[in-house]
């Protein structure tokens, strides 16, 4: 148990405590109490920076299931510290914001904070766990708490749809990831990430390497809304805006990025990893930025923007992983710049996207709509919000002097560098990387401008708005202002981040590049001469302005293109088809007819027994030790078969009953001939009683169905019954011959010898029934008792509608 364990548990404890706050007099807003949690955590994690910088993080273990190698090991290094700071810091800001956003009178705020804290704890658990299984547990907890938060307004149909969709997709990915983790365990024998990183030699070239990589990436891609799994994120925008700001821009969607970064030391240098991560990232980047521009809902626009930016970071992580391939340290360091850019942009994105979501929340809160077509001219009404939005969108678009500008420059550097790699067919593709990056940046610029100017400039359409717009309360503005200031600070003083956060994070993503005691030289400069990147940025701004100006026309151009084929449609129809086809299959075979089920059962029996018998050459016939055939037995046998065969052809029920009875009496005769007097006696009596019972019931049956039905001859029935009969005969014969080839001595010798000596009885069958195996007899008596009680109950008790049981009052 360390302070780090306590830090993970703290949100969970608070989550338990939140509902208790309801009982407080005056019902204060629970957000104030909740705020203490993330604020304290943030301060705690800030305090850890110096020791992590010095390479002395925290590693602490609590045994959980040691026999399976599952231990709650927490690890605080550069990467996890970075994420922990994001989670707690933005968590605190979001909590503060939500205090003003969530009305304590109208909303179930206690429930809201319980879910939010649950999520916060789970997310901390994900980034601080060293054990893969524990990580997976927290990972699923983030899916569940995100599900609960998306469907917070569960009376809305869209909320439930969005929550269900995100749940299905992220849990699907989570399960794939679990499978990947298990494969990692198969290869290395440990669940500890640190130990797996140390034994990468076992993984390289292993036949399970590729499946593992794919499964793990599936988990990361679904969680981080990468193409084509991004479809859940826009629908998750039904959540309250603080949730969107926290989960779906800053934290949860970055869990996939965290996973990729965390496992980069394991898979870096693998072509599959490089290509998958960077290609999927680039596709997501351009697709998201392209889709974002056509949205009319502000939150949907931000959702696609988030998807696009996550793709950018993912692509950078992929490009950075190439540094694991090179043995030359200088070359490796050269390509590791991509990783640096990824971390820097991750931080930038968290602050500007958080701020933008809060801005949208404020606009929504103060005007009553998020529809871009109804908004406009809010600049003079909401000056503070406008300023925050301006900083956020400019940072997102990559305009100096904000943080986004620097990360965009670094991104361009990384894609240009990628062209020089000359490995894994990069020669062929090297031109595409900068091209896609540049086009995506143009779109990013354009939608950022749409977001800003369509909302805040132009004419105010007051008749369209349900509320009179006015500036938000101060409390609501604190968090976005802080975030916007950070976006500015990151841009102006990147050095602040470089040494404190980015460099230790680099050290944990690419541990192989550093000699002990060495540190990455992370220097992010604001200006580095007339490099190609600068010209690219100028191009982005120039073309971006053009696209923005023409955006209404372009929108008309690419609208039909996207409505024809949409991934949402694929998802929806896929789900519907699955439901329908399983319904169809079930309806096909679950017919409700007992006869059909019996046919399945018998057919299965025939097929299984038949296949086994012939596949394993099981049939054999050995007639050497058979008893001789005598005339009496043959005669009785013939009579029995004739009587039995006549039953299905019997035209009347009476005849059928009598024929069945005669079969029973033939069996009695067999018992006589084969020297079983007790059996013969019992069979005689039972058969008589049975036939009497049959006739009795037959007599009582109402004459509803007068015509005595001739059985409809059904070929299937005949074939099935023929099959069953044949199988029984064949098996009986095989068993008989197997018995004569391996003659085990029967244990009946013992009963014959001991019957009189031990039990004092001469009728051996009776002695077996009541002495040697008396338990059987006892239970058989119980069966008879139950049957008679059951029959009595059936006849006497009936729960008709008109004849209810009279309960004693």
């Amino acid at each position: 148990m360390s302070t780090l364990h306590a830090a993970i548990i703290l949100p969970f404890i608070l989550a338990i405590g939140v509902p208790l706050l309801k009982r407080l007099p005056g019902r204060p807003h629970p957000g104030w109490a909740v705020l203490l949690g993330p604020a304290a955590l943030f301060i705690y994690f800030l305090g850890q920076i110096p020791s992590v910088q010095a390479g002395q993080g925290i590693v602490s273990t609590i045994p959980w299931i040691p026999s399976l190698g599952i231990e709650v090991t927490v690890l605080l290094d550069g990467l996890s510290l970075l994420f922990a700071l994001l989670i707690s810091g933005i968590g605190a800001l979001v909590t503060l914001y939500s205090i003003f956003y969530m009305d304590k009178k109208r909303e179930a705020v206690h429930r809201f904070y319980t879910y939010l804290l649950l999520f916060m704890g789970a997310m901390l658990g994900v980034v601080l766990s060293d054990n893969l299984i524990v990580l997976y547990g927290f990972w699923e907890l983030t899916s569940i708490s995100s599900f609960l938060l998306i469907s917070f307004w569960h009376h809305r149909e869209r909320s439930r749809y969005g929550a269900f969709k995100s749940m299905l997709i992220t849990v699907f990915g989570g399960l794939a990831m679990l499978a990947g983790f298990v494969l990692l365990y198969r290869m290395t024998g440990t669940f500890s990430i640190r130990e797996i990183i140390q034994s990468t030699d076992l993984i390289k070239g292993h036949s399970l390497m590729l499946p593992t990589l794919l499964l793990v990436l599936l988990g990361a891609f679904t969680k981080s809304a990468q193409f084509p799994f991004h479809i859940w994120l826009p629908d998750a925008m039904e959540a309250p805006t603080p949730v969107s700001a926290y989960l779906h821009s800053a934290t949860m969607v970055k869990a996939g990025l965290y996973l990729v970064a965390r496992l980069t030391p394991v898979f870096a240098g693998q072509a599959a990893w490089f290509w998958l991560v960077s290609a999927v990232g680039l596709i997501t980047l351009i697709f998201g930025s392209f889709k974002a521009i056509k949205q009319t809902d502000l939150k949907a626009m931000l959702a696609f923007s988030t998807i696009s930016q996550l793709g950018l970071i993912m692509a950078l992580l992929g490009l950075g992983s190439a540094s694991g391939y090179f043995t030359d340290i200088q070359q490796s360091l050269f390509y590791s710049k991509a990783t640096m850019a990824a971390i820097f942009h991750l931080l930038n994105h968290a602050v500007f996207k958080g701020a933008l979501f809060m801005v949208v929340g404020i606009v929504d809160h103060e005007t009553g709509t998020r529809d871009i077509r109804k908004l406009g001219g809010l600049m003079s009404i909401m000056p503070v919000t406008f300023t925050v939005a301006l900083i956020g969108t400019f940072s997102m678009a990559g305009i100096p002097p904000f943080g986004g500008f620097l990360s965009k420059e670094m991104f361009f550097t990384a894609v240009l560098n990628a062209g020089e790699m000359g490995i894994w067919n990069m020669q062929t593709w090297s031109l595409w990387f900068p091209l896609i990056a540049w086009v995506a940046s143009v779109f990013t610029f354009a939608y950022s401008m749409v977001l800003l100017f369509r909302t805040f400039t132009g004419k105010l359409q007051e008749q369209e708005l349900s509320k009179r717009p006015h500036e938000a309360p101060v409390g609501m503005l604190i968090s976005p202002v802080i975030m916007a200031s950070l976006a500015l600070v990151f841009g102006l003083f990147p050095g602040l981040l470089s040494y404190s956060l980015i460099e230790p994070a680099m050290a944990s993503i690419l541990p192989g590049l550093l000699a002990p005691g060495e540190k990455f030289q992370v220097s992010i400069q604001f200006w580095h001469g007339w490099t190609p990147e600068v010209f690219m940025t100028i191009g982005v701004i120039a073309v971006g302005i053009l696209v923005f100006a023409l955006s209404s026309k372009i929108k008309a151009l690419h609208n039909p293109l996207f409505t024809r084929f949409s991934l949402n449609g694929v998802y929806d129809s896929g789900l519907r088809t699955m439901e329908r086809s399983s319904q169809w299959i079930t309806n096909k075979y679950m017919t409700g007819s007992v006869r059909h089920y019996l046919i399945y059962i018998f057919a299965f029996l025939i097929v299984v027994l038949g296949v086994i018998m012939f596949a394993f050459d099981g049939f054999s016939l050995d007639m050497s030790s058979y008893a001789p055939v005598t005339i009496y037995e043959t005669a009785i046998l013939l009579a029995l078969i004739i009587a039995a065969s006549a039953v299905p052809f019997a035209n009347s029920r009476l005849l059928a009953i009598i024929l069945t009875g005669s079969v029973g009496y033939m069996v009695t005769l067999f018992f006589v001939i084969f020297r079983a007097p007790d059996l013969a006696l019992t069979q005689l009596i039972v058969e008589t009683v049975s036939v009497t019972l049959f006739l009795l019931c037959f007599y009582h049956l109402p004459k509803l169905k007068k015509e005595l039905s001739v059985l409809k001859f059904k070929l299937t029935n005949f074939l099935i019954s023929l099959g069953v009969g044949t199988m029984v005969t064949l098996i009986a014969l095989s068993a008989l011959s197997a018995g004569s080839s391996h003659p085990f001595e029967s244990i009946s010798k013992f009963f014959l010898e001991a019957s009189y000596k031990l039990a004092g009885g001469k009728n051996v069958v009776n002695v077996i029934l009541v002495d040697f195996r008396g338990f059987d007899t006892m239970l058989e008596i119980v069966v008879l008792g139950i049957a008679s009680l059951g029959i009595y109950a059936m006849i006497r008790l009936s729960l008709d509608d008109e004849q209810q049981v009279q309960l004693p009052s």
Partner: protein, 112 residues
């Protein structure tokens, strides 16, 4: 003799199964009692049909027939009798209530 008995048991099985697959509840019950007979005969046959005295020690014979299958079959007869009578009364009651003994009509509603 065992060969003949095995074939006879097979035929009894066949007829029993055929009756069980039919529509009328009464025939299904008759089918189960035919199956019961078949199983009892099978038990008897599988223990070999060697001749010997009945397993009564007063006979003072040199060889006896196997008493164990006899004990097993005896138990089985009683149990199947109990089950059959229960089943029969059940069929009778269901006929009274539902006014049909056609198995095709005794199925759940579609789509349930």
């Amino acid at each position: 003799m065992e060969l003949m008995m095995s074939i006879a048991v097979g035929i009894l099985f066949m007829i029993g199964v055929y009756l069980i697959l039919s529509r009328s509840l009464l025939r299904i019950i008759l089918g189960t009692s035919l199956l019961t007979h078949a199983v009892h005969l099978l038990l008897l046959t599988m223990a070999r049909l060697k001749k010997g005295a009945p397993p009564l020690l007063g006979e003072q014979a040199s060889a006896y027939t196997d008493p164990i299958p006899a004990a097993l079959i005896l138990t089985s007869i009683v149990i199947s009798f109990g089950v059959t009578s229960f089943f029969f009364v059940l069929a009778y009651k269901s006929y009274q209530k539902l006014k049909t003994d056609d198995m095709e009509q005794l199925r759940g509603d579609e789509g349930e």
